[in-house]
């Protein structure tokens, strides 16, 4: 697969034209890509002018010299794609529309397995392809990890509502760490400002406050993905693109997601986010320390969510929000370690979780001094 990409020379073609639909298999929102539109390659962020010409040349040469062999190859490829499309719910049709020159790399993307079924070699090749694409499209050198869960670890999180002052340093830390789309202003973390007399629910909280904080008579409740032990978002996913890892983190395979947004509807905590457009991040601000299931730059048309900074937590670091919090309101740790901070909190403080009656079993507790 890698060789095919190499020879066609444009992993960028996927992004250039209709990459997002090839990657995300999102047919519905991709009305704009016809056979012609795909070769303009106008969607990527960082482009060299030579890209257009080389792409154009390749297309011409493809049109001129149709040998029997290439014709067979084309027929076979189209047939395979069509079979795949019918199997996977018609999601691959657009990859054919992007023309013969893009087909090879699109097919490589299209026939990618679900992350959980990939062998080590396939993961490695996939990551190499991704790194190459990010270099070409965005001009950034990335280091994508595929580290597995650490055995004997179940991540848990605690949030001190008597300490949070509503400064939102955590939100900024999260945006910078997780390569969130700067154009849509996407944020994983919401900080709700609540009147002290109003109880703990988040429905009547104000998440868009902008005044000096902490405001008199108010307290602050931060929400993000709670990495439920019984996650409704995983239950509803029709394609198995999201699942709970052994260390309790709920992750998304961005290449398997079809963008149906069922999970967004199913989450009672409003934790999932959808990419309506290609994420825009200045090359200088891209965090190159990435994880395949975490903060690697998402394509358009897929869901994403907080992963407790999987790229950090699996290497022993604290999530960016914990690190950024100046008040120490955020505590992160291993629930299976009886000496951890989080376990002390669960055993010694008054703790509660949001919407516990839904039996989602979030691994995110609120506590008070």
């Amino acid at each position: 697969m890698t060789e095919i990409i190499g020879s066609s020379g444009n992993s960028a073609s996927a992004s250039g034209g209709c990459g997002s639909c090839a990657i995300s298999s999102l047919t519905s929102s991709c009305s704009g890509c016809g056979p012609g539109g795909s070769s303009t390659g106008s969607n990527s962020q960082v482009q060299s002018p030579s890209f257009h010409t080389s792409s154009g040349n390749r297309r011409r040469s493809g049109e001129e010299g149709v040998t029997r062999r290439s014709m067979l190859k084309y027929l076979f490829g189209a047939g395979a794609a069509a079979t795949g499309a019918s199997l996977f719910g018609g999601s691959g049709l657009m990859s054919m529309a992007s023309g013969p020159d893009n087909r090879a790399s699109n097919d490589a993307e299209f026939f990618e397995k679900n992350y959980r079924l990939m062998t080590e070699g396939e993961k490695r090749r996939r990551i190499e392809r991704l790194e190459k694409r990010y270099r070409k499209e965005r001009g950034v050198n990335t280091d994508i990890s595929d580290s597995d869960a650490i055995p004997g670890v179940l991540y848990g999180y605690a949030f001190n509502i008597s300490k949070c002052q509503g400064y939102r340093d955590c939100v900024r830390g999260c945006i910078e760490e997780n390569n969130l789309d700067r154009e849509s202003g996407m944020q994983y973390i919401r900080i709700f400002e609540k009147e002290q007399a109003s109880g703990f629910g988040i429905e009547d909280g104000d998440a868009s406050y902008f005044h000096q904080v902490p405001a008199e008579g108010h307290f602050y409740v931060g929400t993000q993905c709670f990495q439920c032990e019984n996650p409704p978002c995983v239950e509803v996913c029709p394609v198995g693109a999201t699942w709970k890892e052994p260390d309790g983190i709920v992750v998304v395979d961005y290449d398997w997601c079809i963008g149906c947004r069922y999970c967004q509807a199913a989450c009672p905590y409003w934790a999932r986010r959808f990419n309506w457009s290609e994420p825009q991040i200045p090359a200088s601000e891209v965090n190159s320390d990435q994880h395949y299931l975490g903060n690697r730059i998402r394509p358009k048309g897929v869901m994403e969510k907080c992963t407790f900074c999987i790229q950090r937590s699996r290497s022993g670091e604290l999530p960016a929000c914990v690190e950024a919090c100046p008040t120490g309101a955020r505590v992160f740790g291993n629930l299976l370690d009886p000496d951890s901070e989080i376990r002390y909190i669960l055993e010694n403080k008054k703790v509660f979780r949001l919407k516990e009656d839904l039996n989602t079993e979030p691994k995110f507790w609120y506590y008070m001094d």
Binding site: G32, C33, G37, T40, S42, N43, S44, Q45, Q47, L87, N114, L117, G152, L154, A158, N160, Q165, Y167, V171, R172, E176, R182, E183, S184, G185, I191, H211, Q212, V213, P214, E229, N230, C237, P238, G240, S277, E278, P282, E285, G316, E317, L318, T327, G328, G333, N334, L335, L336, D337, P338, D339, S340, E341, I342, Y344, I345, K349, E361, Y367, D369
Partner: protein, 220 residues
């Protein structure tokens, strides 16, 4: 006819396999059950600092507590600009002038707003025994590296929570021996409360006028 039947069976079984893969339902367990079943005895050997990253070893001191294993906290003296204090305050008789700001000389910028109710003066914590050490309200001299021992005499609950892990901040990692910020990393001892301020704003790229991604320009 048989062949056709076989063909459909293959198709159907293939579909079922795919379906199974897509919705792998798991048994519902509460987190509590899971913790009880899978709890690990992860003893952190913190009898020495060898488990810490090398560059951290010099930065921390060990804190022991009545219940549970010890942990490390960040040293304070390295952060203090004028430590050791005995460079200037050589004699024990140094008197700390509180009211007259101009007489404080090098400490002109120290504005004591710790407990607005009053009753606090320089000597409440700095004492007069030794200028290089802090003094608790019951007269013990303690190192600047362990400000918690001074804070504890009034803020016992907070220090207890800090020792357990419910107050304060973890340093860099959740793995291995716990390392925590000390009291004065976050609280200015002379003005310990947190300021009122404007919340953080975020990096932003203005939305482009055209939302059609065929005509959308390239990022910048």
């Amino acid at each position: 006819m048989n062949k056709l039947l076989l063909f459909f069976m293959v198709i159907i079984s293939g579909g079922m396999l795919l379906g199974n893969m897509a919705c792998d339902r798991q048994e519902v367990h509460s987190v509590r059950e899971k913790i009880e079943h899978e709890e690990r005895d992860t003893k952190h050997d913190i009898s020495n600092k060898d488990q810490l990253p090398p560059k951290l070893r010099e930065q921390v001191v060990r804190v022991s507590k009545e219940k549970g294993p010890d942990f490390f906290t960040l040293k304070r003296t390295g952060e203090m600009k004028r430590y050791p204090c005995s460079n200037c305050h050589m004699d024990r008789e140094t008197t700390f002038s509180e009211s007259n700001q101009s007489s404080r000389k090098a400490h002109w910028n120290v504005d004591l707003s710790h407990w607005k109710g009053g009753h606090m003066s320089c000597s409440t914590c700095h004492g007069n025994e030794s200028s290089d050490q802090l003094q608790t309200s019951d007269g013990r001299s303690v190192s600047f590296n362990r400000p918690d021992q001074v804070c504890e005499t009034c803020h016992g609950k907070q220090v207890q929570d800090w020792k357990g892990g419910a107050h304060g901040k973890q340093y860099q990692t959740w793995q291995g021996p716990p390392v925590r910020y000390n009291c004065t990393t976050c609280h200015d001892p002379h003005d310990p409360s947190f300021e009122k301020k404007w919340p953080e704003t975020f990096p932003n790229i203005p939305r482009k006028p055209s939302r059609n991604h065929d005509t959308k320009g390239g990022g910048k």
